[in-house]
């Protein structure tokens, strides 16, 4: 509300500052994603976690249950359990 009205003289300066900020942010992102994160991924602890989840076909960034490949196995077990004991998970013994 209290911003100064843009004049011909201060508009190009603002634009240049904006572009500079954008390029700086892009540079920072590039450094983190191309430099830091790949190194982090190679650390034994992170590598072990990544391999473990991959072996279990788990995508830790899944947003919904259908995105979990490992769910098939879990659902199969549940289905077979319900066939074997249809009432066991419905009424306490």
């Amino acid at each position: 509300m209290t911003e100064k009205p843009e004049t011909r003289s201060n508009k190009p300066r603002r634009n240049m500052r904006g572009w500079a900020q954008l390029w700086a942010a892009c540079g920072l992102i590039a450094v983190v994603w191309i430099g830091v994160l790949p190194r982090l991924a190679e650390s034994p602890r992170v590598q072990a976690r990544l391999e473990y989840l991959e072996a279990r076909r788990i995508d830790p960034s899944a947003m919904f249950y259908t995105e979990l490949e490992g769910l098939d196995r879990v659902l199969g077990r549940l289905e077979r359990f319900h066939q074997r004991q249809p009432r066991a998970l419905w009424l306490p013994e």
């Binding site: 982090l40 490992g70 004991q85």
Partner: protein
């Protein structure tokens, strides 16, 4: 001024002519586009089903019986796992999706960003780039037709859409780094960041604005999401699952909302509801559905998602350690994490780090909770038009008034859920056909639509507007108090159901 205010919300204000709305409103176009995608995707899988489907189903049944017998005979767990893998492969190959090779999201990468475009999980090297290009064209055509029908220029939209899509690709690229995925920092966060970076530095260029259509992308994505909410899976874990996921969750949701209104006195009811839903149900997807149903402002949705993702990272790391420290059983720990950690992928990962039993229980509880999204979105939409929104006269709205104000895309969302729940249970091999349709087609498109929506939110949001909502720390306090109640109540219910009432049955299930 009124128009400006409507533009800030996830849901635009309704008009009075239903016939006119059917042809020109964004809500109905979201239903038409989402419905068309679902119909084409399902028919493609249905007509491509193998001629010997019934024989293959019999083979799966026979293999399943064999596995059942192995479990009864207490065969070695390695042998059972090998058999389970074989069965899983048989199931996944049962209903091939002919559209799958034509649609793609970017792939996971680690060292070289180009891998995200060129390497495909199944070894199909060229598929991703082509798949992304097809998604661009399909989305451009469908949203372009809708935009034209709503009286806006197709040409301006098309040029702008290519730019917004390029930004969404950058967001996916950032989200798909293996370490970023490991910590469940989902693509909405990066899409928001990409948009915010542009709008808060050089400003959103005017030529991009025709394709900055947050609501349109979100509503269409939600109609596609509806097809994934298969009601039959609600019963997968019997009484314990229902009590942990469907009794505790609504109690926490309502109590947190009431706490925000009565105690914290949060001025924005929609912010209060969106945070309550994403914290109690399942994070980002619940936040998107609820924000659209209660007409939340875009920055309110951004804030709720930001908090949810932050707490998810903390909880998925800390909870397995706490569970081990207190010597809780894997079953109890899995149920506790399944009912409390917001994001589905994070629940699966945290469960897997705790152990095989925890993973099974956690994933199943979360799946049942996922299905709650449909009911919550519908309930919130009804509650909002009946009890929250003010009528011009200040009196309770009539039935017609409720119909006019009701967000119609929610009807598409619920209709998709009911239709595909029926198809999956009544058709021969319906469950496999619907799964194949979702995994190969609608999940990919829905992901892109949500990503486009979050880029659009970023392009329309100012950092100052976001910061304004954090003033006084009330939203944060709401989240922390709600999550504390969630943790306590879920632990109590999980203990009662999994360790006391159904202990023997659950032990046999996970053995």
């Amino acid at each position: 001024m009124t128009e400006e205010k409507a533009d800030e919300t996830i849901q635009s204000a309704p008009t009075r002519s239903t016939w006119n709305e059917l042809r020109t409103s964004e809500d109905w176009w979201a239903v038409w586009i989402g419905g068309a995608i679902l119909a084409v995707a399902f028919l493609a899988v249905f007509f491509n089903r193998p001629a010997d489907l019934e024989e293959q189903l019999s083979e799966i049944e026979a293999q399943s019986q064999l596995l059942q017998q192995m479990q009864l005979d207490q065969a070695a767990s390695e042998a059972i796992e090998v058999k389970e893998d074989q069965l899983s492969k048989l199931r996944s190959g049962l209903a091939p999706n002919p559209l799958k090779p034509w649609l793609a999201k970017l792939q996971k990468w680690q060292d070289n960003p180009l891998d995200a475009f060129l390497v495909r999980g199944g070894g199909d090297g060229t598929g991703t780039l082509r798949g992304v290009f097809v998604v661009l064209i399909v989305s451009l055509v469908l949203f372009g037709i809708g935009t034209r029908a709503m009286g806006r220029s197709f040409d301006k939209f098309a040029a702008a859409f290519v730019c917004v899509f390029a930004l969404a690709s950058v967001a996916y690229l950032l989200a798909n780094h293996s370490v970023v995925k490991l910590y469940n920092l989902e693509y909405p966060l990066w899409a928001l960041l990409v948009g915010l970076l542009i709008s808060n530095t050089i400003g959103t260029p005017a030529f991009i604005k025709p394709a900055v259509q947050t609501e349109f992308y979100i509503k269409t994505g939600l109609v596609l999401l509806g097809a994934k909410i298969l009601l039959s899976r609600l019963l997968a874990l019997g009484t314990p699952g229902i009590f942990v996921a469907w009794v505790v969750t609504p109690i926490v949701l309502i109590a947190t909302y009431a706490f925000g209104q009565k105690v914290l006195r949060i001025s924005s009811k929609s912010l209060n509801m969106t945070i309550s839903a994403d914290m109690s149900v399942c994070g980002v997807s619940a936040a998107i559905a609820t924000a659209a149903a209660c007409k939340a402002k875009k920055e309110e949705l951004s804030l709720a998602i930001g908090m949810s993702l932050t707490f998810t990272v903390v909880m998925m790391t800390v909870m397995p350690a706490i569970i081990r420290f207190f010597g809780m059983s894997e079953v109890l720990g899995g149920a506790w994490m399944g009912g409390t950690i917001d994001a589905t992928g994070a629940v699966a990962a945290a469960g897997a780090f705790l152990g095989g039993e925890a993973e099974q229980v956690a994933i199943t509880v979360k799946m049942i909770q996922n299905i709650l999204i449909g009911v919550i979105a519908f309930g919130v939409a009804v509650y909002w038009v009946v009890a929250v929104e003010e009528t011009p006269t200040g009196r309770r709205p009539s039935a017609w008034e409720i119909w006019y104000r009701f967000p119609k895309f929610v009807l598409g969302f619920v209709a998709a859920s009911v239709a595909f729940s029926i198809l999956s249970t009544t058709l021969t091999g319906g469950q496999y056909l619907v799964d194949s349709m979702i995994k190969g087609t609608t999940d990919v498109l829905r992901g892109w639509f949500f990503c486009l929506a979050f880029v659009s939110i970023g392009l329309e949001t100012n950092f100052a507007e976001l910061a304004q909502h954090l003033k006084g720390g009330r939203p944060l306090l709401l989240y922390v108090c709600g999550q504390t109640l969630n943790l306590g109540l879920t632990l109590l219910m999980a203990w009662l159901m999994f360790e006391v009432v159904f202990r023997d049955a659950v032990q046999e299930l996970v053995r």
